[in-house]
Symmetry: C2
Subunit: 604 residues, 2 copies
């Protein structure tokens, strides 16, 4: 893993030419200082930090990993110093309120920052990333005093935060949570229980860690309706808000994992720790859900960033390594063999990674603009309206682009042949690291259920129709543009797949009338179909922007726009058709999943 350059051109292209983020920012007076120069400066400064400070620690951090001794976690060599530079750069509070010391920039620029950092070194990026989760939860649900006490420390990055949900017996099924919070006379709570899989649960990067903990107040209703949220700092703040008494949050161990070795994954024992109610009693799960969308966007970044990192490294190898001749004949007959990139099948693997990274990035930034609007919402109704839009895109972005990111990283390894399997090259690390992305923050199965069960059917198709309308609006824009002829090769298939998307949904609904398992049997394939379609939509938008730039002049080189069109062609001809398989599978009988008795799965 020798190569990483932040794809600044592509970031700029998507922001300025595809999505026109600037017009969106201009709508909000709070963002009146946000202009092209500022965004460029942030992106290139962040890129410097990512490329020079944390990318060089990516492979060594994997090799060394975190260590656990006497209840304390130590991060790999160099991580502490790198985090100090993060603090000095003021990166943590980029998109958080100036009131707490942040820079008050749009959340979408925070997502851009997270992408740059996460691509360079995902395990490192998880520390500040998880802390953002805690910060966002506090922003939404903490009272004034709690905000005053915690948010400045978290915004500066002097302290970090975590999210403590999972317990040994339950992950996504939060209703099974057993951690107990008993009310004390002073209004605080005594928190007792064990949480597992707590990312950044302990480390040596900051003096204090603020845990946001889901727990049950004795006597609360069973299931998810009896869960509340608590702030449980590792050290209680003293009267000056400085690190005070140890609060009996004990780190039991760290997990040995397939990857992200430099990120600590902790078992945390809350041994009668003092906790403070965050938001309302028994509304903890609902409070978590308002935060879930942004957390899942964060996870999608891992898929997209891994595709980018894997692409860049396998591209460099494919241009250098020589092996055999293509079936079409020698391209450099004077050399011992042709470079790998001369082979069509290697180009296929490279372009696949490129298309996944670029398609995902476009969808990510578009979704990020909704996250901006969420933070600008004037009332609950507006918040809900935006959150619903975001909630529709999120499972697609998270579910689809983590699955495809995993595939991309494996293609990157594949380009290296046997060398891909050797640690030294770093390609297998990318594949191991990204493998978790389809597991945490809700597995792909959970995303599929969320999309089809909740966001399409329970929502009575409102957001589903809304996205269909966006596609129709794009057709209209194209057909009214001077590029309608060139764009036919994209809109014709997009229309076909959109119609197919509607058809498969009807098929599912029709089948569900007779068999209630028909929906659950289709969640995965519907999610994947939706992902392929959404990506086709974004590539169509990018193709249109490219034709426009080639015709009217754009900020980037003509080569950039040509390459974008070629990547879009690749996507439409060599990735999108997979959706046909998913559609055909949705048409399959539900019985083919449900009929086998459990005891007959294995008969020995």
């Amino acid at each position: 893993m020798k190569n990483f350059k932040t794809p600044l051109n592509d970031l700029r292209f998507i922001h300025y030419e595809v999505l026109d983020s600037l017009s969106e920012y201009r709508k909000n007076p709070a963002y009146d200082e946000v202009n092209k120069e500022l965004i460029d400066a942030i992106a290139s400064e962040c890129a410097k930090y990512a490329e020079n400070v944390i990318f060089p620690l990516n492979q060594s951090g994997d090799e060394q990993g975190c260590s656990y001794n006497d209840g304390k976690v130590t991060t790999p060599d160099g991580y502490k110093a790198a985090y100090q530079q993060w603090l000095q750069g003021g990166w943590q509070g980029l998109s958080h309120p100036e009131e707490f010391g942040g820079q008050g920039l749009p959340p979408s620029l925070g997502i851009m920052k997270a992408e740059i950092v996460g691509t360079a070194n995902w395990a490192f990026g998880m520390y500040p990333g998880l802390s953002l989760g805690a910060m966002n939860t506090l922003m939404l649900h903490a009272d004034k005093a709690q905000k005053a006490l915690y948010l400045a420390k978290l915004t500066s990055g002097e302290w970090m935060g975590t999210m403590c949900l999972t317990e040994a017996q339950c992950g996504s099924d939060l209703g099974q949570i057993k951690t107990k919070a008993e009310k004390n006379d002073d209004g605080s709570y005594t928190v007792t229980g064990t949480k597992i899989f707590i990312s950044s649960g302990d480390h040596d990067l900051t003096d204090n860690i603020v845990h946001i903990v889901l727990a049950r107040i004795p006597g609360s209703p069973e299931g998810t309706k009896g869960i509340s949220l608590f702030i449980v700092p590792k050290y209680l703040p003293d009267e000056n808000g400085a690190v005070g008494e140890f609060n009996q949050v004990n780190t039991g161990s760290i997990e040995k994992k397939m990857g992200i070795h430099a990120s600590s994954t902790c078992v945390l024992n809350f041994d009668g720790a003092k906790g403070f109610l965050l938001g309302e009693v028994n509304k903890g799960v609902a409070a978590m859900f308002t935060f879930m969308n942004t957390a899942r966007i964060g996870t999608a970044i891992q898929g997209i960033g891994s595709a980018e990192l894997s692409f860049q490294n396998s591209l460099a190898y494919a241009k250098e390594r020589r092996s055999m001749r293509p079936l079409s004949g020698a391209k450099e007959p004077e050399k011992v063999a042709d470079t790998l990139i001369k082979h069509p099948d290697v180009r296929r693997m490279l372009l696949k990674q490129k298309a996944i990274a670029e398609g995902g990035r476009a969808m990510l930034y578009d979704t990020a603009l909704l996250a901006d609007k969420l933070s600008e919402a004037k009332d609950e109704a507006e918040f809900k309206a935006i959150d619903d839009k975001l909630g529709f895109l999120t499972p697609i972005l998270k579910g689809f682009f983590t699955e495809l990111g995993i595939e991309a990283a494996n293609e990157g390894m594949q380009v290296f042949g046997g060398h891909g399997y050797i640690k030294e090259w770093g390609m297998e690390q990318i594949a191991r690291d990204v493998r978790i992305s389809s597991l945490y923050e809700g597995t792909t199965g959970i995303q599929g259920l969320d999309l089809l069960g909740r966001k399409v059917i329970q929502d009575k198709f409102k957001q589903y129709f809304a996205f269909n309308k966006r596609i129709l609006a794009l057709y209209k824009e194209i057909l009214q543009s001077p590029y309608k002829v060139q764009m036919l090769r994209f809109i014709a298939p997009l229309m076909c797949y959109q119609l197919r998307w509607q058809k498969v949904l009807l098929v599912i609904l029709f089948k569900a009338r007779k068999n209630r398992d028909a929906v659950g049997a289709s969640t995965h394939d519907f999610l994947m179909f939706s992902g392929y379609l959404a990506t086709a939509f974004y590539f169509t938008k990018m193709a249109l922007a490219s034709f426009k730039a080639l015709d009217q002049g754009g900020e980037l080189s003509p080569d950039f726009y040509q390459a974008k069109l070629q990547t879009a062609d690749f996507y439409f001809q060599r990735l999108l058709p997979r959706a046909k398989g998913h559609a055909a599978i949705i048409s399959g009988k539900t019985a083919s999943l449900m009929d086998m008795p459990e005891d007959n799965f294995q008969l020995e």
Copy 2:
């Protein structure tokens, strides 16, 4: 990774009821003692060894790995003792000639043994497995004296063998080999050079290691036509054939790899080692190729075995772990939540693994019967005829079932949610271990080129038509059977996909007339389509055998046959339709792969 039971029922079903291996064995007088009792005894004894001796070492071997000190490799704890039990059981020579101390049984039973062992502990199985490769090469190409000197030791397992092909600058492109073999006055050669990625290149399991080395005699033609094969033992045998003088085969290091940590992957320095020509001068690559098919069958086993192991472990977890309720409502409302297996999407992941393991096993055993015939061939023409058949199936078996085995192992992890990522459960190990299967013995890219370029087009479609004829013969058999009505749900789609297979080939050939890159641009998707079709063929055979057994009585329980039919239904409805995506991709323009200039892949 707590669970492993050899799927003895399935082995028996395929051998006795699907393929009728016994009739095949009866055709060869050398196998007149091979009957059901013997095969059952071998399978169950081998299963005991696999389940009780080496399966318990699978996870500990991964954790500890091989170590390298002072030029010597040490295998993980327990491996040496386990290998002693292997020797005592006489397992190494199971399907090798009695003349050298083997048991003279059919190679197909050796493949069954390799599957049982490889499923329990792939890294362990690689040691004897690689040695079989060396033994087979010696059987085919060694002279009488060489056979006498080496084969008895290798057949007993007292010594082991390796295959030394790869060098730092070349893997599949053997023409680039630089290792030098200079002729000595005594007829021997002095071998100098460095080989990498040598599995079992050094270890502590045997006193001597016999390396089969590809090297170039100075003055030979360039490229693959100037490569010869040599026997280079680690220790030269003395006049009694016992371990003698050290032969300057020095182990430079072992690789740090993503997985198969218990298998040593060595850099071997041949520092003027004494080597002995094996076969004819400059015919080394051709000699290697006669061996390649069986080696690739061996690698396919890793995909199939990993699917089985992953399936069994994720099944056990899915039956035990409770999380949420299916959309169709609670199945065990009195429990805190339903077990995972109640969720349709989890059943999908389980059945996918099961279908991959069972489909692959059927194709594996069918191909293995051809390997038997190869060893029985009476002359070169017959050998070539069988080898051509085998050569057609091999890239499909290897390319397709390693790709799907990797997918299966990842689905197994996915069933575990976040726990799948934690080493303790062992699921991530299966995924890491199997990941190499699509890289070694020729990447999937190489298999695709081999299938479409060599085995279909260069072969002038002879084997392609022959396989089509086998499918037609199966239709005929079904339509003449009493089960034709029940079988319609399988033969109707099989026919459609077979026609599609013919159509995509025509599409490729048609495109290739105008653009010579069209073949290379389609190798991957043609390989995958062929894999889905071939697997459909084997599931159709299995379905027919199941209906027959249910009607006329079979050796196994009716539940077994019902489950097989349900697995076949799952395959036809939920895996086979993916082939549609591959067909659509083949129809895509070659330009979408070839047009992007190399410099434009990344423009920063």
